[in-house]
């Protein structure tokens, strides 16, 4: 007999209240997760979109990539040994449009690689967000540290770094702007084990992302909020089921006296927990994904299916743990005590 469902049907208000709370907490978690993901994409899409591999910067840079300098001969030798590797640099800067309006960009230049845009001298490839600022293909842009001009040849989707649109330029133009002799970083895609290169330290994709201080600070705060909300939902389950179990101690005792297994009582509680959580999650996932579609274009919001599934599973696990911990009192219930008490 499905006692769990029969109880829920009879005590609708009680379970709807719990379901609403779980829905609100999970909805808030999905929205914040979407914002966290959107912001991290806005902060480092350039790096996040690269395949898994290993980043290298000079040892003396001590993990600060804009202090890193790769020795040109070491770079040539590494590129020879690893055909799919690329050396590249990222520097924040500005471009001025024909109306002399200044736009912040992250200049990126690299050796020949399918991982980065190939750009000829005097040309520039921009992130699509600059198109909304009125820049068009064929426009001419300038930079006060660059003697020549940049002709816009193409726009690319979702290439952001440090919340600024990426501007791919030729290596010679880059060297002129930043008076640089070499590049800052190297990237070798694939490779489970990072090949050891003398004078360079290797970083996995995640390790490298965390060397970007703004990314680390922003991501940590948002992740902390998400985990906090998940912990709250676990506590809510524990408290709610604890209170409900305390009310039902007498009933559990009588059911045990007539021969109901303790496991059956646990299964009843788990069934209620799963039913409430799944209903609340279905509603909050639907609304979050709906919000994902209608979110204003400028809002950095990105909720992936994988992320949603992961968070949903986490909610179920946390709910299960919360309900189970609070249900431990079911095991301790003595039928005799319940019989000696009055009606429930």
């Amino acid at each position: 007999m499905n006692m769990a469902w029969k109880e829920m049907k009879k005590s609708k208000a009680k379970f709807i209240i719990l379901g609403s709370i779980i829905f609100l907490v999970s909805f808030l978690t999905f929205i914040i997760s979407g914002l966290a993901n959107g912001l991290s994409q806005d902060n480092a899409a350039l790096i996040k979109d690269l395949p898994q591999g290993h980043f290298y910067m000079s040892t003396d840079a001590k993990g600060t990539y804009n202090l890193s300098k790769i020795d040109p001969s070491l770079q040539d030798q590494t590129l020879k040994e690893h055909k799919d590797a690329a050396a590249f640099s990222i520097q924040m800067g500005f471009v001025n449009d024909k109306e002399d309006k200044q736009h912040t960009v992250a200049f990126v230049t690299s050796t020949d690689s399918p991982l980065f845009e190939k750009v000829a001298p005097g040309e520039i490839v921009l992130d699509k967000s600059l198109e909304k600022d009125g820049i068009k293909v064929g426009d001419v842009l300038t930079n006060n540290q660059f003697n020549g001009e940049f002709k816009v040849v193409k726009f690319v989707d979702q290439k952001k770094y440090s919340h600024a649109p990426v501007a791919y330029i030729n290596m010679n133009d880059y060297k002129e702007i930043y008076r640089a002799k070499g590049l800052q970083l190297m990237f070798i895609p694939g490779q489970d084990q990072a090949p050891s290169i003398t004078g360079l330290d290797s970083y996995t994709n995640n390790e490298f992302l965390n060397t970007i201080s703004s990314y680390k600070a922003e991501n940590m705060s948002l992740q902390m909020i998400i985990w906090f909300l998940i912990a709250i939902s676990g506590l809510l389950f524990a408290i709610f089921f604890y209170m409900m179990n305390v009310q039902k101690i007498g009933l559990y005792g009588i059911l045990k006296a007539i021969g109901v297994k303790t496991g059956t009582l646990f299964r009843m509680m788990w069934a209620q927990m799963f039913l409430i959580t799944i209903s609340a999650l279905v509603l909050s996932v639907a609304l979050s994904l709906g919000f994902n579609m209608i979110a204003p274009k400028g809002m950095p919001f990105s909720l992936t299916l994988n992320g949603t599934i992961l968070l949903s599973v986490l909610f179920l696990v946390i709910g299960f743990i919360g309900a189970t911990l609070s249900g431990m009192q079911i095991r301790k219930v003595e039928p005799l005590q319940a019989i000696q008490q009055g009606d429930m």
């Binding site: 009879k10 007539i258 021969g259 005799l336 009606d343």
Partner: protein, 224 residues
């Protein structure tokens, strides 16, 4: 035919350094189709004896034999199985499940007793037993809408739906008025005879004693 035997059962409660012996070597045999009433003053040990016999607490010493097996020393799971399938319980309060209808209370008991009947057969059996206790017209009612007497009738129906061998009744009429008490006792006596159940009942209400086949009086943990 003897179906249930209690041999030299003792029970001592210990609280710190203080210990109190509430049963001092009880010997008792219960017969099939017989309603046995346990009477005695408060503290005489009658409720303790009933709960030990029902496997709801353990004895300090002695034997409680059911179907030839000593229940003292059985595992909790073995005792639970016996309680679920061979015993029926009627308590002082009806102790019905508040979110189940009258019909569902009985269906639950059939589930607990691991009845081999199909759902359809179970429903038929429930209808039959509800008719027996004259509660068939309230099968869709929840406990909150039943009177005290009706609740106790449902509790009795729940106690006998799985055809137990032993029915334990602990003060089954204590929360009822005289008329309802007599109705409930008539029902317990009739079911004991009709279904050939062995019934052990604790009561302190002398008006209920004429319903019993056998009256056992207890005093200071002994049968007198």
């Amino acid at each position: 035919m003897t179906t249930f035997t209690i041999q030299d059962v003792t029970k001592t409660f210990t609280n710190g350094e203080v210990s109190e012996q509430v049963l001092n070597g009880i010997n008792l045999s219960l017969q099939e189709g017989e309603l046995t009433a346990l009477v005695g003053a408060s503290g005489s040990g009658k409720s303790t004896l009933l709960t030990i016999a029902a496997g709801l607490q353990s004895a300090s010493d002695g034997k409680v034999k059911f179907d030839g097996n000593n229940m003292i020393g059985m595992t909790q799971e073995q005792i639970r199985k016996i309680r679920a399938s061979k015993f029926g319980f009627v308590f002082q309060s009806a102790h019905l499940v508040p979110f189940l209808t009258v019909e569902d209370q009985l269906m639950l008991m059939l589930d607990v007793a691991e009845s081999k009947m199909s759902k359809h057969e179970q429903k038929e059996e429930v209808a039959k037993v509800l008719k027996l206790v004259e509660m068939d017209h309230r099968k869709n009612a929840y406990p909150a809408s039943l009177s005290g007497g009706e609740k106790q009738r449902v509790a009795i129906a729940r106690a006998i739906i799985h055809k137990p061998k032993i029915l334990f009744a602990d003060e089954p009429t204590a929360s009822l008025d005289s008329k309802r008490s007599r109705d409930v006792m008539t029902l317990i006596r009739d079911l004991t005879k009709k279904l050939k159940i062995t019934t052990l009942m604790v009561t302190h209400d002398e008006e209920m004693l004429p319903f019993a086949d056998r009256i056992i009086t207890m005093k200071d943990g002994l049968i007198i």
